[in-house]
């Protein structure tokens, strides 16, 4: 890392801003503001700082609509919103995807629109921590807030998560290096274990690295559970790990005073998917018979957890909720964005603060190319190439305030520090406008008692 001169040329400092990048939601940032732009960020990691400062890079500034020649043309807000509303109002199987990088205030409007028109609302969990949520629904959820880890934890396990790269301040601020009330020497009072097939940066700074083989996670955790029950392992090597190492690890985990398992996409996206998490949760539950253990999924986007929490208290289901029939339906493998797109069902796709163009499988993107796509976002991205209507939003936590839920479920209010570009609008306003325009264009479908569905089939 090259040395960088400290920034001295700024007009004001805005303190205690919240980083809108990863699930850590660091709320201790200071923005250095000059001429209405953030020119420097203090306390943030490089990921967070670069996102906040490069806010004008590739920025979407004006609404655009794709014309008959397939070119995106700049238009005024009314034209763009009317066009988008028309697409939504005329759709039969609309999907509204994204939401993880916007505020829950905006989600509220989106949910109202989705419930009105009978859309599927889904977020990035469907491609990242969806399996974790499914596992939670099958096995339970022993968690704790991050301050609890800071103050008590003496064993931190990172499984399938390279936190050093994906959540750079996680170890420093919440789990490993920080001094806690009962861990006054910080790092020296804690043991760090990384479980990952790869020798990652996080593994490098750990006390122990368990490099189980790719896709071997389920078998590995199953063996740990068997050992916790006092069973002798019959195979010498399980999922690439010698059985002696497993015995040793189990002893270490049993002797922890307060242990935490952080897991990431490396665990959710291997062969047995949600069942990996399922059995990891069960393992943590077993460990509580010997000492205190908890876990936390390493959520990626800053408000991906917020959408799940918000949807759960509003509708009873965390993501992938289908309102097509006028009541909430949540069936994994049916009402999720990727499944719907690969089946070729959706006929309108609203994407807000997300980039399916970059993250979806090919087949899903092929279908997106065939249907109207409405994009609400702040940056130009692969999805803009797919979009038929582009609505430029504003940057939560910088240009407008809003609510976010951290990876451990703690609500953070992300405050506004600077003004948004004049031609942009707040996400919340855009979605509310869409909702109101759609309401004018189409009568609410699937309202009881006009169509009473088979009561047995609900």
């Amino acid at each position: 890392m090259a040395y960088e001169e400290p920034i001295t040329d700024y007009d004001e400092i805005v303190e205690n801003c919240t980083c809108a990048f990863c699930g850590c939601n660091c709320d201790d940032l200071d923005y250095l503001v000059k001429d209405g732009h953030v020119v420097g960020v203090r306390h943030a990691c490089r990921l967070g700082a670069s996102k906040i400062m490069e806010d004008m890079d590739q920025r979407l500034i004006v609404p655009m609509v794709r014309d008959d020649n397939g070119e995106l043309k700049e238009v005024d807000w009314d034209t763009a919103l009317d066009k988008a509303a028309e697409y939504i109002a005329n759709s039969i199987r609309p999907v509204m995807y994204g939401w993880s990088e916007t505020s829950t205030e905006c989600m509220k409007e989106g949910l109202a629109l989705g419930e009105y028109i009978g859309a599927v609302l889904d977020n990035q969990a469907t491609i990242c921590h969806g399996p974790s949520l499914q596992a939670v629904q099958n096995a339970g959820y022993p968690i704790q807030t991050l301050g609890e880890v800071q103050n008590r934890a003496d064993v931190c396990v990172y499984s399938g998560s390279n936190a050093m790269n994906s959540h750079p301040r996680h170890l420093a601020r919440y789990s490993v290096f920080c001094r806690g009330f009962f861990r006054s020497r910080g790092r020296f009072d804690r043991t760090v274990v990384t479980m990952d097939p790869k020798f990652t940066d996080t593994a490098k700074m750990s006390d122990k690295w368990i490099g189980f083989e790719q896709n071997g996670d389920y078998g590995f955790y199953n063996a740990i559970r068997a050992v916790l029950k006092g069973k002798e392992l019959s195979q010498d090597v399980i999922s690439g790990i010698p059985k002696e190492d497993i015995y040793e690890l189990v002893e270490e985990m049993k002797n922890a005073e307060f242990g935490v398992l952080f897991f990431g996409l490396g665990l959710t996206h291997t062969l047995s998917k949600q069942r990996n998490i399922d059995i990891a949760i069960k393992m943590v539950q077993d460990l509580n018979k010997f000492s205190k253990w908890g876990l936390t999924p390493m959520r990626g986007h800053f408000n991906v957890n917020g959408f799940n929490i918000f949807m759960a208290f509003e509708t009873g289901f965390p993501f992938g909720v289908d309102f097509a029939r006028g009541y909430a339906r949540y069936v994994l493998g049916e009402t999720n964005t990727i499944d719907l797109l690969t089946r070729g069902e959706p006929d309108v796709f609203l994407v807000i603060a997300a980039d399916p163009g970059a993250h979806f499988p090919n087949k899903a993107n092929q279908h997106l190319a065939k249907i109207p796509v409405i994009q609400i976002d702040i940056h130009w991205g692969p999805s803009t190439e797919l979009a038929d209507v582009v609505l430029p939003g504003s940057f939560i936590g910088v240009e407008c305030g809003g609510t976010s839920y951290r990876m451990d479920g703690v609500l953070i209010f992300m405050k506004k520090a600077i003004d948004k570009p004049e031609t942009c609008r707040d996400d919340e306003w855009i979605v509310r406008e869409l909702k109101e325009r759609v309401m004018k264009l189409r009568k609410e479908p699937n309202v009881a008692p006009e169509y009473i569905p088979n009561p047995a089939a609900q």
Partner: protein, 288 residues
């Protein structure tokens, strides 16, 4: 007896939902009722007759006296027979999601493949799929720890991942192969797999029986070798041949039974006695 024949006129890219068209609901319906009916598609409803011609013959006093024959390409028709309690449905094609889900009685026969979620949380009746199924056949819906509680599912082809998840009764028979984690979290009932299983059957199983007649890939550490049995009798059905019997999943003090064909899976025996001799000696020991 009432026979209702559906003849397809056109297909839809967005799935039709057939949950209201089950014998329990329609046994009193005549052709005119079908002509009035609008079928849910996405957030809207369209006349059923846009998609199917319907012929009704005979009369029915109860759902049990209904026979529905659905012809055409049903790859985008979901919830067929969902929650039905009686009668018969014949599908002359592959079908979409949730065929026979939560059914409590009656018969569904699918002459083709079934998409995911076939027969989920079934509590009775008979579901036969002549082709393959995808994941979650006979499983529970997410979050529920009590899955299929009764009835019978037969898959002639292969079954996808997590077949029989949380099985709590009834029987699932797969004549082909099964993907990973068959019978995971199972607590009662019988799963019979005639083909191969690649990995980890019976994970976190509490009780019940899984019989695997084909080749087993990886076995979980949670299963403990019990004995070798000849011609085991599982709930009245005798399986010919020698089977290795395991108990598991020990990780949660499970008492489930996993039987795998000993002849096909000799390598597994090696774990408990390298040679064939030792295998024989275990048998002889037992015969004493």
């Amino acid at each position: 007896m009432k026979t209702i024949t559906f003849k397809q006129k056109k297909t839809s890219s967005i799935a039709l939902e057939f949950d209201e068209l089950i014998p329990d609901e329609i046994y009193t319906w005549g052709e005119s009722d079908f002509n009035k009916y609008e079928v849910p598609i996405g957030n809207s409803r369209f006349p059923l007759t846009d998609y199917f011609d319907i012929k009704v013959e005979g009369e029915a006093e109860s759902p049990d006296e209904v026979k529905m024959i659905i012809n055409g390409d049903l790859n985008r028709v979901k919830y067929i027979g969902c929650k039905m309690s009686g009668g018969e449905i014949l599908c002359n094609s592959s079908v979409d999601l949730h065929v026979g889900a939560e059914m409590s009685g009656g018969t569904i026969i699918v002459d083709g493949n079934a998409a995911a979620h076939a027969g989920r949380e079934m509590s009775g009746g008979y579901l036969e799929i002549k082709g393959n199924t995808k994941e979650f056949t006979g499983a529970s819906y997410i979050g529920e720890w009590r899955g299929m509680t009764g009835g019978e599912i037969i898959v002639h082809g292969n079954a996808g991942k997590q077949c029989g998840e949380c099985l709590s009764g009834g029987k699932i028979t797969v004549l082909g192969n099964c993907d990973i984690l068959a019978g995971i979290h199972m607590s009662k009932g019988v799963m019979e797999i005639q083909g191969d299983v690649n990995r980890w059957p019976g994970g976190q199983m509490k009780n019940g029986t899984i019989v695997i007649n084909g080749k087993l890939g990886r076995l979980l550490e949670g299963f403990v070798f019990d004995e070798v049995v000849d011609n085991p009798d599982i709930e009245g059905k005798v399986y010919d041949g020698r089977f290795i019997k395991y108990t598991g999943d020990i990780g949660l003090n499970g008492k489930g039974t996993l039987l795998i064909n000993a002849d096909v899976n000799r390598d597994k025996l090696g774990e408990y006695g390298e040679s064939d001799d030792e295998y024989t000696s275990i048998r002889e020991y037992r015969n004493l």
